[in-house]
């Protein structure tokens, strides 16, 4: 039921090769390995099979279409990443922390495993890959190569022609020569002089020379030579980075060295001299990994915010692959953009990201702070802390503040969505709207009254809430412009205002002041009534919706969930629940409350009119859930089960403190993945034209027919024919091949074969069955399996029938042959 969103990229591998150009980008993301197209930025394949985090991926040096991957679950897998099929699985046993595959060692790979019996010590071992027939193999033959290595994959590197291996840890460097069986150790001084920190952070070896480049925590890069000798070794230093060098990479020929770090600048060093260097600045966020493609044309950098940039060899930014951008702290909460239904939250520093849940892509990133972000620790930068959308999505309010606690530099910005540019434009900027931090903000949602009734309320720790209204400068001779100004300032006994919320019809405003909830009339700004439930401050408040609009729900610090009736001004019910998140569904009267008790989060869904929840999911996840949002579905989903009927109109998303996005779904994993895997297109270096699509389709068909020898094609040709003919007719004449070539294709596409009909009918039946099955049970896994089984069965039936016919024919032939031969005899 709970599925983690693709949020963490672990280690990215190089590009696969096809022809002369790197076409695929492979990277490990959580438990999966993803295959991306470099040209289109689309995810092509998802290699899933590991049960835990994937720690390393390496292309098979002997077959470029194959990929090794290692995981914390103790297995190595060999994949065919073109088709997404696992070829072999080697069970090693202990956690695998890093993976290295060498071209010279054909039957073994190197992995980093924790040393048995000792904590925090790791060793580099070589695993002998046994050759066997089956898919699941044992890889238990381990031989230790190096002891006391670092756990990070960046801290080990293999040298020229795989003749030596280098490992760095703290201030020690070890070089082990395979042929000589010689281990050299070098160490730097541990003394931290002038803020310098000599400890190693990463290591990389020159591809053609005996040279090792190491990155250090103080930003230095050291180039080691002559390390065959224990005493006479030399090193030179390159220094540009002011903070830790996160990763290094050599170009294919070793002429250029790339380095990256916290500064989010990619530095290219030429000829290992410190005077000649190029920069690619402002890559957005700190660089964690650098990887070169195997043909050396492209390089990609992996950033801490879950983003991959692809960079040309001449250090030009080419494109980026990004999912949900991971920001240090999601302060804005999860907000849904009413216009695009995208999830809106903190993105890059100072930016607001619009993340489309359907396509797992960032729609766009809106620069709110509009200041240059300096990637340096200890700076007090402005951060985006609050976001609110108006009901129609035409107005966006944002609050940014600097991190200073005492005297925050606050700015409230109001953005207007302009239809021409299709983006938000800044309308009003208000400096220091409150004297202290702003705690909450909301628009009055009155869709039927239009923009004139739009009101923004902000609550602050300076003990007041402020009401902002739109003011039109109505000078008939000047052009009209709209600005926002403060209309009302309200307070209650000098308590800090913590939350605010408008009722559904916009007539009432609830503002919580520490222990008390105050309800205000939004027309006259009169205090109507107050509620409180001591002890404990109010943590969350919200109004009921639709039929439950007379209720006000509040959650307190002391672990109480209270429901007040606004008509009688009395407490309706209360429950003992440590509510962390309280989220009303905008389309129904359901309210979701997430509680946090003794290291597990639980979800309760209830209606304000009834004190008992309609749905409870205990132990939702181990992490603390910080935020939740209901995202309206495009079309209401048919959910028959009474238990899940609250998911019909909108979907619930959670964000945990480890920044994983999760959702509740009634569908199984396979079903949700199908739409993306359906999009798998044939990757061609040719551009896609209607003609290539047409040709490709027919070629594939022909190929299928050739190989399968009369195996029924499941596609209905007639259906395909009409678009094929259409494409033929719509393609400009000058790009079409000769008519004689097209003729056969054209006629073929018009032919109707008898076999196909039967196949189609069979498919229909299967679909019918599956629909019935869905209606019957909740567990769609089983039905999906059944469906697949059924189709296989059907196909098998056909096959056997076919085979028997051909056998008959052959038999007949043999009979004839026999007969003639006997007669001759």
């Amino acid at each position: 039921m709970v599925s983690p969103g693709p949020l963490r990229v672990v280690r990215c591998g190089g590009g696969g090769q096809r022809g002369a150009r790197a076409v695929y980008l492979l990277y490990a993301s959580g438990d999966f390995v993803k295959v991306h197209s470099v040209n289109t930025e689309e995810t092509l394949l998802l290699l899933c099979g590991h049960a835990d985090l994937v720690t390393g991926i390496q292309l098979n040096p002997h077959n470029h279409m194959q990929l090794y991957s290692s995981s914390l679950d103790g297995t190595l897998k060999l994949w065919d990443f073109m088709d997404g099929i696992p070829i072999k699985t080697f069970t090693v046993g202990p956690k695998l922390l890093a993976l290295y595959v060498l071209a010279s060692a054909e039957d073994s790979v190197f992995v980093v495993v924790p040393k048995k019996g000792e904590q925090d010590t790791f060793q580099l071992v070589s695993v002998k890959l046994t050759k066997g027939a089956g898919q699941d193999l044992e890889g238990k033959e381990l031989s230790v190569v190096l002891d006391g290595v670092g756990a990070s994959p960046k801290q080990i590197a293999f040298g020229r022609e795989d003749s030596y291996v280098v490992s760095v840890k703290d201030v020690n460097l070890q070089v082990y020569f395979f042929k000589l069986k010689l281990l050299n150790r070098f160490s730097l001084s541990t003394a931290k002089t002038k803020g310098g920190d000599n400890s190693f952070s990463c290591v990389v070896c020159h591809p053609t020379e005996d040279c090792i480049a190491t990155g250090h925590a103080d930003g230095k890069i050291r180039l080691w030579r002559n390390f065959h000798h224990k005493k006479a070794y030399t090193y030179s230093a390159l220094h540009w980075h002011h903070d830790t060098v996160m990763d290094l990479a050599y170009s294919l020929e070793g002429t250029r060295l790339l380095s990256g770090g916290v500064e989010s600048v990619l530095v290219q060093w030429h000829n290992e001299s410190s005077c000649q260097k190029d920069f690619l600045p402002r890559l957005g966020s700190p660089i964690e990994c650098i990887s070169m493609s195997s043909d050396g044309v492209l390089c990609c950098t992996l950033h801490t915010d879950n983003r991959i940039s692809i960079i040309n060899s001449n250090l030009r930014f080419s494109r980026s692959i990004q999912g949900l951008i991971k920001s240090r702290d999601v302060k804005t909460g999860l907000v849904v953009d009413p216009r695009t239904k995208a999830l809106v939250l903190n993105g890059e520093p100072g930016h607001l990201q619009f993340y489309s849940l359907q396509s797992d892509q960032q729609l766009f990133s809106l620069d709110i702070v509009q200041r240059q972000y300096i990637h340096q620790a200890g700076l007090k930068q402005s951060e985006l802390v609050k976001v609110a959308f108006s009901a129609q999505g035409t107005w966006l309010a944002t609050v940014e503040e600097s991190e200073e606690v005492a005297d925050p530099e606050l700015q409230l910005k109001l953005w207007f969505y302009s239809e021409e540019t299709q983006s938000f434009a800044l309308s009003t900027r208000i400096n220091t709207p409150h004297d202290n931090h702003i705690t909450d903000m909301c628009f009055r949602d009155m869709a039927e009254l239009g923009d004139d009734s739009l009101i923004l309320v902000t609550t602050g720790r300076d003990c007041v809430f402020k009401v902002w209204v739109m003011v039109e400068d109505s000078d008939p001779e000047a052009h009209q412009s709209v600005s926002w100004s403060c209309d009302f300032v309200g307070g209650y006994h000098n308590y800090q205002a913590t939350n605010c919320c408008f009722s559904e019809d916009g007539s009432l405003l609830a503002v919580s002041f520490e222990e008390t909830v105050t309800v205000w009339d939004s027309l006259t700004w009169e205090l109507k009534c107050t509620f409180c439930h001591p002890p404990g401050n109010i943590r969350n408040i919200c109004f009921g919706r639709l039929t439950c609009s007379k209720y006000l729900i509040g959650a307190t610090d002391y672990g109480f969930l209270c429901c007040w009736n606004l008509l009688t001004c009395a407490l309706e019910w209360s429950a003992h629940l440590n509510v962390v998140v309280l989220q009303p569904d905008p389309l129904s009267e359901h309210i979701a409350a997430v509680s946090w008790l003794s290291k597990e989060s639980s979800l309760f869904v209830f209606k304000p009119s009834e004190p008992w929840p309609i749905y409870i999911q205990r132990n939702l996840c181990k992490e603390k859930i910080l935020l939740a949002a209901f995202v309206p579905r495009d079309e209401p989903e048919m959910i028959s089960s009474e238990k899940y009927c609250w998911l019909r109109k909108s979907q619930l998303f959670f964000l945990t403190d480890t920044q994983e996005l999760m959702t509740l779904s009634t569908k199984s994993l396979e079903e949700r993945l199908t739409p993306s895997s359906k999009q798998l297109a044939v990757e061609e270096s040719l551009p896609m034209t209607p003609f290539s699509v047409l040709l490709g389709k027919h070629r594939r068909q022909q190929a299928q027919e050739d190989t399968d020898l009369g195996k029924p094609v499941v596609h209905n040709k007639q259906e395909q024919a009409s678009p094929a003919v259409k494409e033929l007719l719509h393609t400009p004449a000058h790009v079409l091949p000769s008519a004689s070539f097209l003729c056969t294709i054209f006629i073929n596409s018009l032919l109707i074969s008898k076999e196909n009909k039967s196949a189609e009918e069979v498919a229909d039946e299967v679909e019918m069955e599956s629909e019935k099955a869905e209606d019957d049970s909740d567990e769609e896994d089983v039905t999906a399996m059944e469906q697949e089984d059924a189709s296989h069965m059907e196909l098998l039936g056909e096959m056997t029938c076919k085979l028997s016919k051909s056998q008959e024919k052959e038999l007949r032939k043999i009979r004839k042959m026999d007969y003639s031969w006997i007669s001759a005899f």
């Binding site: 402002r282 620069d367 200041r371 530099e409 205090l527 509620f531 001004c569």
Partner: protein
């Protein structure tokens, strides 16, 4: 990959009035010329023909001033007592004036002695005017009557005594030669037709009427009295169109500008307000030293003349429109370069490749981009930037502080530069929009240069200046807080009633607690 984002300079909107086309237009006057008259200036009238001389009635004299003369070019002083309401005829050749003794004098502008004298009013005459046929004069007096005189024969034609108080103002219709309007202290404005025996329309203004005005079209009537300026639709039978209340003392005079698009009103509250006649909103206002009694605008709005109660005549001339065509021509590129490549119209099937716009960065931005903090600070400490756009200097200082390099940028400067910095800080630290940043800067400067205090007399002097400025500001803030406290106590007395309401609610809350306890 993002491009470098330049430093955001906080553009602070100018407080007070906004810059509109109107403010630009009405600000385009030179500094006023002040002329002292013998008494309160009760009427100013421009000659309708060039060279647009104007007659100023004050005390017992009528002065005629030329356009740029500060001395009167002619004076009529044959009045025994105060003169009132010297008015030009349409051709600018005759001038009529009332007087305290009830007589009306008609002067030739070129002559000295009155051509005619009309006797008939028993009390002072405050209103005299020509009808648009040029041969008749209308007048209104403190004897509640308004009369019509024939100029050639110097005889009274009609006398209306419908007003019940002093008649103090009036005007003639430009469209109809028989129609004139009078306003009186009996709160009414009356429209008279010389062809009838009585008034044809009465408009109730509601306050003693000080001034009336007819629009050139004759359709709209403006009356001023009390604090109100009211606009009436004459053609609809005297329907009230707008009532304007923008002055806080009695409005004494009205005037239209030459285009008829703007209405000006002068008041005892020392303001002249300018209204747009389409929206009837105040588009601009002038401030004067004392209460205003009379106001006139020359044709083409060349001159604004305002007369005050203390006898000062305030004359403002419009600045000549600056035309530096020569300098503009130099800047413009040659026509050929300008047109190059632009005359090509892309066809429908053409792909348009737009050139990336090259962004021009300011000098300090370039330096900041390459992390040269000290040089960036130097760049914004140049006098032109520091004097004219202090917000740029402060924005760069703030950016440096954000980057944590402000201290190193401020350090290591010589006497001259420290002097410059301290002058800037001492002058600007009291401006609220800069205070937060400049206090930090001042703090750092004192920290850094503490060891060298006493080595340079100039720097020491600047430190003392800074101390004084901050001390003054603190005193000022304290005073403000005191005022705020006083106001709070005042407001507290008003909101007593509300407090009781809050009390009730509180008790409500208590009862709820009890209920919740019961619920367990």
């Amino acid at each position: 990959m993002a491009a470098y984002k330049p430093v955001v300079v906080q553009a602070c909107p100018k407080l007070g009035e906004k810059i509109t086309q109107d403010t630009l237009y009405w600000r385009g006057y030179k500094t006023p010329v002040q002329i002292k008259e013998f008494g309160a200036v009760n009427k100013i009238d421009f000659s309708p023909v060039p060279p647009y001389n104007y007659a100023v009635t004050a005390s017992s004299r009528i002065h005629i001033y030329g356009r740029y003369s500060q001395e009167p070019i002619k004076t009529f002083s044959r009045f025994r007592d105060a003169a009132y309401c010297a008015t030009y005829r349409d051709d600018g050749r005759l001038l009529a004036a009332g007087s305290e003794d009830g007589s009306i004098c008609l002067f030739d502008v070129s002559g000295k002695a009155p051509l005619r004298q009309f006797e008939g009013h028993t009390k002072p005459v405050h209103l005299v005017g020509f009808l648009s046929d040029k041969y008749r004069i209308f007048s209104g007096g403190d004897d509640y009557s308004s009369k019509l005189w024939d100029i050639p024969s110097a005889t009274e034609m009609i006398s209306y005594s419908e007003h019940t108080d002093y008649v103090r103002c009036g005007c003639a219709s430009k469209v109809n030669a028989d129609v004139f309007i009078t306003g009186s202290y009996d709160h009414t404005v009356k429209v008279f037709d010389a062809r009838t025996k009585s008034s044809v329309m009465t408009i109730e203004h509601g306050h003693p009427v000080e001034s009336v005005l007819l629009f050139p079209s004759g359709g709209l009537l403006v009356s001023a009295g009390g604090r109100y300026v009211k606009v009436w639709d004459v053609l609809k039978g005297g329907q009230l169109l707008v009532s304007l209340k923008n002055h806080h003392k009695t409005v004494t005079c009205l005037c239209l500008n030459s285009s008829g698009q703007r209405l000006l009103s002068g008041s005892l509250d020392r303001h002249v307000k300018i209204y747009s006649t389409t929206s009837y909103k105040v588009v601009h206002s002038f401030n004067y030293a004392t209460s205003i009694l009379s106001l006139a605008l020359s044709p083409e709005d060349e001159t604004i003349v305002v007369g005050m109660t203390n006898g000062v005549l305030n004359v403002k001339h419009r600045k000549p429109v600056e035309k530096n065509e020569n300098s503009q021509k130099k800047i413009q590129p040659a026509y050929r370069t300008y047109v190059k490549g632009r005359s090509y119209m892309p066809k429908q099937e053409d792909f348009c490749v737009s050139k990336p716009v090259k962004r021009v960065l300011r000098k300090y931005d370039k330096l900041l981009r390459s992390f040269q903090s000290s040089k960036a600070l130097d760049a914004v400490l140049e006098p032109p930037i520091m004097l004219h756009t202090p917000e740029v200097t402060v924005a760069v200082m703030q950016e440096l502080h954000r980057r944590g390099t402000l201290r190193s940028a401020l350090a290591g400067r010589d006497e001259k530069q420290v002097n410059l910095l301290l002058t800037f800080v001492a002058r600007r630290v009291i401006e609220p929009r800069f205070t937060s940043v400049l206090v930090i800067v001042a703090d750092m400067i004192t920290d850094i240069y503490q060891p060298v205090v006493g080595q340079s007399a100039i720097v020491d002097k600047q430190f003392l200046k800074l101390q004084q400025a901050i001390g003054k500001e603190i005193d000022y803030q304290e005073e403000l807080l005191e005022v705020l406290g006083m106001m709070d106590t005042l407001f507290a007395t008003f909101t007593k009633k509300r407090d009781t309401c809050l009390e009730e609610n509180k008790s409500n809350g208590v009862t709820e607690i009890i209920e919740t306890n019961r619920n367990y």
